[in-house]
């Protein structure tokens, strides 16, 4: 839980370098401004818009809602849901629940890491996949399970996990070629 600052790979508060369209947030802020206790829903909606919480966005929310950025960072880093760097087009959440653990989720992690050539928490170079873990997805009778962009897959074997990734890659390649033609 909380901030990963001690691990040296922390992106909290870093400038993204991209131009962020802050005005996309205005409707959200208008909806919640002045409503007590609404910081978390605002952050959730901001993350829905941008895919993560860029530092500029956090400062903008602070200015607009009259909350100190330090306070917003404090809340955002407390919760596992909030991310401070962009994620891939496909967000893989590998379940680490007890049922998945005893049914071999570690082997699935190894297979996914090999297939994608990234470690847990990383994003592929082409920006397609991010591999994350989730404490428990609550689909325990399908263990081991992963969720990709909100859809659950299970019960997995290392081979099944690999082929799901390969299918998505194939689909992406097809779509790209379709565009080029």
């Amino acid at each position: 839980m909380g901030c990963c600052c001690s691990q040296g790979d922390c992106n909290v508060g870093q400038q993204s370098g991209d131009n962020i369209a802050l005005n996309l947030l205005d409707d959200v802020i208008a909806e919640y401004r002045g409503a007590a206790g609404s910081l978390i829903p605002v952050l959730q909606k901001a993350q829905d818009i941008y895919g993560y919480l860029p530092a500029e966005v956090i400062r903008y929310i602070g200015r607009q809602m009259d909350v100190k950025p330090a306070k917003i960072f404090g809340v955002a880093t407390f919760y596992a849901q909030f991310r401070f760097s962009p994620v891939g087009k496909y967000l893989i959440m590998l379940c680490q629940g007890t049922a998945c653990h005893v049914n071999g989720s570690e082997k699935i992690e190894t297979a996914l890491s090999e297939e994608l050539n990234i470690k847990m928490g990383e994003t592929t170079d082409d920006g397609l996949f991010t591999l994350n873990d989730a404490a428990c997805l609550g689909c325990c009778s399908l263990a081991p399970v992963m969720m990709i962009n909100g859809r659950a897959y299970g019960p997995l074997t290392p081979d099944k996990a690999r082929s799901i990734i390969k299918d998505i890659y194939a689909k992406e390649k097809e779509a790209k070629e379709g565009v080029e033609q």
Partner: protein, 587 residues
């Protein structure tokens, strides 16, 4: 005739939507006038996707593991031809599955039976009758009395009497009071609340409105974890429908009682299941617990009297009001009344969601309802209560499942997660697993919890890696006492339980790791070696081809060997070795 398909999260994950498509297009092709009803989880998750054929006389035929092909066969043989497809039937009205037979459904009464997105369906099942009864025939005190008679205790884990909390909130002084539903189901291995919310959202809503009436509250909040998108969507639909029908809003049914509610999504912090942390999170703060008293019933959400109950607790309420507290109290044991929902998972044959009378022996849950251990292996332990719970070994299988008996064994009833383990599960690794979880989820407020869980995890990690030292078991026990005593909330107080129960019942496994550098369950990678039995190996070369690190060598038709120095112990070789040879083994 009617068709019904299970579309809870598990049904969808197993491919339920594709089956629904097939059924619907087949109905169109055949020009039939046949309704396909969506429903939540019936609990038989091991057989998903599930399709029910409901005859006009009310008989239900349940088909399991339905694929497109089987769906077409059901349409052809059963729907058109009138002959049930015997080989794919998993349960039927005349011949219920053993999994369903020992169950009594109170909280889950509507799950898997009706369309959770239809308020009319809910009303047809007797929904909102209890609310009507409360508002038209009962005083708030009488409602609390009825709940007291039922003996209902909080289903979130602590088992505190529900009526007492309601009464305390009612008695507390305050111009505004709140009802909060705790749907932040965070225990890994537990999915009772998800299924209840996905399968019967109105049941939970009705329970909350009744609680509001009894406690004198005007506002309700459901704190639901964001990992349950389907549950949130169905709750939103249910709230909207209840408002349209006047079950929520001002002056409900002309009774002068007004109540409305909204959903707040959790953001992924296990500690927010603790009620004071949950309140902090509702208020938009870091979800850190605080010292009690004052209890939330005196000073909770925005400092106002607040009653917090778990999803399952609320789901029981309409049934209790309708059927009477005495009917609920007639089930269960003297101190633990009624039924309890459990999520059965792990190395169990028939995993899923079950509801049984409290007090039935653990053995019946695992062997009668759950069908025993997957692959007919040996039962080793069942983990109850998640990260604050413990592991119960085979010797205690005849223990009745109730709050007191389970606690006497060092575990807790918890919210109802039951993860079954067999002889291939390493108990030291399980303790390490849970400490890894609590260590990550500790909010950091209490030093003993923040640092103690980290130190305990380090000790467990080194034991699993074969670096354990004599005295480590005693060190763990000492740390356990400190963390338990020095922590403010249940997360820290319960964190030692997985360690203490595994030491208590499986001390020999810890000793084998530390002194003999062996993992008896053959799970800890640093303590095992993969080997090939040269008498069994025929040199088929499959393992050598599949080994990701090229650690296996050997000529065709000659026994192969694994290079221990290169082997990463990934287990691929043992998985791919054809069962007729079974030449790879773990030493």
């Amino acid at each position: 005739m009617k068709l019904r398909i299970g579309l809870g999260s598990c049904g969808i994950a197993a491919g339920g939507l594709a089956v629904l498509d097939t059924l619907e297009s087949e109905i169109k092709n055949r020009g039939l006038d046949l309704e396909v009803m969506n429903t939540g989880c019936i609990g038989m998750c091991h057989n998903e996707p599930l399709v029910d054929v409901i005859e006009d006389d009310g008989r239900v035929f349940t088909y399991g593991m339905v694929t497109d092909k089987i769906a077409l066969q059901i349409m052809e043989d059963h729907v058109a031809g009138g002959n049930p497809v015997e080989e794919h039937l998993v349960s039927a009205t005349d011949k219920p599955a053993a999994f369903m037979d020992g169950q009594v459904r109170v909280a889950l009464r509507n799950c898997g039976v009706m369309d959770p997105e239809s308020i009319d369906e809910y009303i047809k099942q007797g929904g909102y009758e209890a609310l009507t009864k409360c508002l038209t025939q009962m005083t708030p005190e009488e409602v609390i009395e009825e709940v007291k008679i039922s003996g209902l205790r909080g289903r979130g884990g602590a088992g505190f009497p529900t009526w007492f909390k309601w009464n305390a909130t009612r008695q507390a002084k305050g111009d505004k009071k709140y009802i909060v539903c705790n749907a932040d189901e965070g225990d890994p291995g537990a999915f009772m609340d998800r299924s209840a919310l996905e399968g019967d959202p109105h049941g939970v809503l009705e329970g909350m409105i009744i609680a509001g009436y009894a406690a004198g509250a005007s506002d309700g909040a459901i704190y639901c974890r964001a990992e349950y998108p389907l549950a949130i969507r169905r709750l939103e639909i249910a709230i909207e429908q209840a408002r349209e029908r006047g079950m929520l809003g001002s002056d409900i049914m002309g009774s002068n009682f007004s109540f409305d509610m909204y959903i707040k999504q959790g953001a992924g912090a296990f500690v927010c299941g603790e009620e004071t942390a949950l309140i902090a999170s509702l208020e938009g703060e870091r979800g850190m617990p605080r010292l009690k008293p004052p209890f939330p019933s005196e000073s909770g959400y925005w400092g106002k009297p607040t009653n917090i109950n778990n999803v399952e607790t609320f789901a029981n309420i309409p049934w209790i009001i309708r059927e009477g507290g005495a009917a609920f109290g007639a089930m269960g044991t003297e101190k633990s009344k009624g039924t309890k929902v459990f999520a059965l998972a792990g190395k169990i044959k028939y995993g899923g969601l079950i509801e049984v009378p409290i007090g039935i022996p653990l053995r019946d849950v695992i062997y009668k309802v759950g069908g025993g251990i997957k692959g007919d292996r040996q039962f080793k332990a069942v983990q109850m209560g998640g990260p604050s719970g413990g592991c119960i070994p085979a010797g205690y299988l005849d223990t009745p499942v109730d709050y007191e008996s389970i606690m006497a064994l060092g575990a807790i009833m918890g919210s109802g997660g039951m993860v079954v383990m067999d002889e291939t599960t390493c108990m030291v690794d399980i303790a390490r697993y849970f400490l890894d979880f609590t260590q990550k989820e500790s909010c950091g407020k209490c030093v003993q919890c923040r640092i103690g869980t980290k130190r305990m995890l380090e000790v467990l990690e080194r034991i699993c890696e074969g670096q354990g030292k004599p005295g480590d078991i005693e060190l763990l026990e000492e740390l356990c006492v400190m963390v338990r005593e020095g922590s403010l909330c249940g997360l820290g107080q319960g964190a030692p339980n997985p360690i203490l129960t595994t030491i208590k019942y499986f001390r020999d496994e810890y000793e084998a790791h530390i002194h003999d550098h062996k993992c008896p369950a053959k799970q800890c990678k640093a303590l095992i070696e993969y080997k090939i039995d040269k008498d069994k190996c025929t040199g088929c070369t499959i393992c050598a081809k599949k080994c990701p690190v090229n650690a296996i060598s050997g000529d065709k038709r000659q026994p192969h060997v694994i290079d221990e120095a290169l082997c990463t112990r990934c287990g691929t070789c043992i998985d791919v070795c054809p069962t007729k040879f079974s030449a790879v083994y773990i030493d």
